[in-house]
Amino acid sequence: MPKSATAALSPDLNAQVSALHRILPPEAVLAGAEESRPYECDGLTAYRNPPGVVCLPDNAHQVQEILRLCAQMHVPVVARGAGTGLSGGALPLSHGVLLSLAKFTRILELDPDNRTARVECGVRNLAISEAAAPYGLYYAPDPSSQIVCTIGGNVAENSGGVHCLKYGLTVHNVLGLKLLTMNGELLELGGNTLDTPGYDLLALLNGSEGLLGVILEVTVKLLPKPERAQLVLAAFHDVAQAGMAVGAILGAGIIPAGLEMMDNLALRAAENYTRAGYPVDAAAILLCELDGANEEVSELIMRVRDLLLANGAYEAHTARDETERLRLWAGRKSAFPAVGRLAPDYYCMDGTIPRNRLPEVLTRIAGLSQHYRLRVANVFHAGDGNLHPLILYDANQPGELKQAEEFGAKILELCLEVGGTITGEHGVGVEKLNQMCVQFASAELAQFHEIKYAFDPKGLLNPGKAVPTLQRCAEFGAMHVHHGKLPFPGLERF
């Protein structure tokens, strides 16, 4: 580490850095502004904050020592995987340690007979399926960021993907974890068995947003690759109708492997970006994938085509071959970056709603878009009712970020109003803390804080994320009352 950088640090930080140097080699401690810049934000780039110190350990013992040291010095720690999170979960703290787990990339064990893989936390999601492929197996949850995001981050966020409708979220596909608590204690949960004695701590750790423990190893369930997968693309003249068709498919007792929707703005962007072959004049498209035994897929594809055509699709096209199927998916999977080219900035929302409210909610989001004069692209997990409205804005235009945030808050309000939730898979992070005050009553938030306390009594692991303080909620409520209107009048609960 360059000497000049250390010189600029505060005395406290200086002491920390020298202590960290006793645990890690010099190149694994970054304390200068330049070196630590790449870590100042995650995928939610609207929030940035340079970390106090960045640590890049490469073994469990080092992580344990770092945690012990930080617990002793009372320094907060923020774990980071690939930094693709979309809610600011890995946003660093100026007075804290950013613990990068990027070097934990070993696949420790692949057990084809038990259909499990034991991997280090920094292994990329897709790397697991790649390693399992020679055995005809794969890891099912497939976030669109799967080329880069880590399994540790997936567990921390309980990430989903386009195939979660049939195969479940991360929580349904994780069998074991090895983690360190903030005081450096090693805990092993589960393994190669289908259940574990005692409380379901795996359920708590999945989606814990780095607040309960630092995950070192993950044992995931692998599935046999389906014999065949086939994709139908259905085009609609009307977004609400596409929403209705989703209900028709599920209502007919068919659970597709994936059922995704893109509206015109999103599909045009994706088409321009990847040349997927989407019908650019459609108001919305549905991508419906069926997988399973060859015969079963043939049978279901016909039924799904009929259902789509009977429910308002003006065209239902079955991928001619594997190349076309993958191309159609590639368009969907690159939709975020594709939409990202339409405007200088975009803001991705993540509410989930009951599926039968899709037509209504999509119509109302379109209305809000006109009201706020901000374009919105919809590309989302329709089968799960998990919306991803992408609000387009330009942060350099005065007031636009604020407008976008207000628009976003309105969308989340709408999700809650129809019986949904503020986040389906991206997590609360720092972004949705205020909305947590609306979704939960103070006693519920207090219970969350206590769960955190049971794992981390000093509150040093990713503090200030995921669960708002009751004080913040009171201020949030008060602030809005002060301005003469409650943020979510019908829903305010305290």
């Binding site: 309980n158 379901d200 999945n206 007792g253 009951p354 006693a443």
Partner: protein, 353 residues
């Protein structure tokens, strides 16, 4: 019959807190045998019942905890839907609350998921007498820690379940069971080999020198798999799988202790003497055997698994597999933050909780 007794239940909790008398929570008492013998004053959940919301198109059902499991299943059945984890009732009175509190799953578990996998949300009373809601009625929800799933299998030690929302699934269009005579070793090898292939398996067990394989799905998919796997078509499948699920199968009738071993599915046959019933494609193995607990547990641990005394014996000692000290300490801290005065089912799961 349907009634909201939450006010009365809350009052009972307040009273228990004031008088410092713990509560022994019971639904239909069908699983009173399961776990350790809890202390406390009985609190019946049976009157707090009724299906609150069920929209088949949404694949979600929400009901009060005291709702009979049979009522839930009948409602789902009328729309050709089911609880995919195929929960055992273990008696006519089984309630939804008891089912989730015990967290037990039937033969479909390895292929469809466990009870906890289908819990979307709960409403509970915690040990401070607060009514709290966690999760919801939508498919994906990562707002807040997953306290809803945490309740599954906690045997009521963290709170009283008032309402539960579950994800449900369409019933398979077609189901067949194939049998084949073979040794336990051959059965295990077959189960392992089949599980590595993309087949519509929905149950696999071995007992009495017979391997039973159930296939579920579309008619064409099941037919194709059947041709691939071979074996004899088993006509009495519905009652057979019910007997396996409900432990009314002959194997479960004899009097000796019944151990449940949870193992990596491909773990080799265990050298322990006694009668074996292999379920869940090898992942759940039942053992009838009077050996000391330590021996059974040590054997399971050696293979990466764990063992619990399911039926028989005293049920006052350690019934569930003992936790290592660090984990037990964490369990105690969690128990303490949900139920600081220890009024819910003390000792039912572990003596310390």
């Amino acid at each position: 019959m349907d009634a909201d007794h939450s006010a009365a239940l809350l009052a009972s909790v307040q009273e228990a807190l004031a008088q410092k008398i713990p509560l022994r929570i019971a639904g239909g008492n069908s699983k009173a045998f399961y776990g350790r013998q809890p202390a406390g004053k009985p609190l019946s959940m049976a009157d707090h019942r009724g299906i609150l919301r069920y929209e088949p198109g949404e694949l979600v059902i929400t009901a009060r905890a005291g709702t009979p499991l049979s009522e839930i299943e009948a409602a789902l059945d009328a729309h050709r839907q089911m609880l995919p984890f195929e929960p055992p009732h273990f008696g006519p009175g089984a309630t939804l609350g008891g089912t989730i509190a015990c967290g037990l799953s039937g033969p479909r578990r390895p292929y469809a998921g466990a009870a906890r996998d289908f819990v979307l949300g709960v409403k509970i009373i915690n040990g401070r007498g607060e009514v709290l809601k966690f999760g919801g009625e939508v498919m994906k929800n990562v707002a807040g820690f997953d306290a809803a799933r945490l309740m599954t299998g906690a045997l009521g030690t963290l709170g009283i379940l008032l309402e539960i929302s579950l994800k449900v699934a369409p019933k398979p269009h077609h189901e067949v069971t194939l049998t084949r005579s073979c040794s336990a070793q051959q059965a295990l090898e077959t189960m392992t080999a089949l599980a590595r292939q993309p087949l519509p398996l929905s149950a696999a067990c071995f007992s009495n020198d017979t391997l039973y394989l159930r296939l579920s799905g579309s008619e064409s998919g099941v037919r194709a798999a059947r041709e691939k796997i071979g074996g004899d078509l088993f006509s009495d499948q519905t009652s057979f799988w019910r007997q396996v699920r409900e432990h009314t199968h002959d194997f479960f009738k004899s009097g000796t202790l019944l151990w449940r071993l949870s193992l990596p599915p491909a773990a080799p046959l265990l050298s322990l003497p006694g009668l074996w019933f292999i379920d869940w494609g090898g992942a759940q193995r039942w053992l009838r055997n009077p050996l000391p607990a330590d021996v059974i547990r040590a054997t399971a641990v050696k293979l990466g698994g764990h063992a619990m005394l399911f039926r028989g014996g005293e049920h006052t000692g350690s019934v569930f597999h003992p936790l290592p000290p660090a984990l037990l300490a964490l369990h105690k801290r969690l128990k303490n933050v949900f139920d600081p005065q220890g009024i819910f089912n003390p000792g039912r799961l572990y003596a310390e909780l």
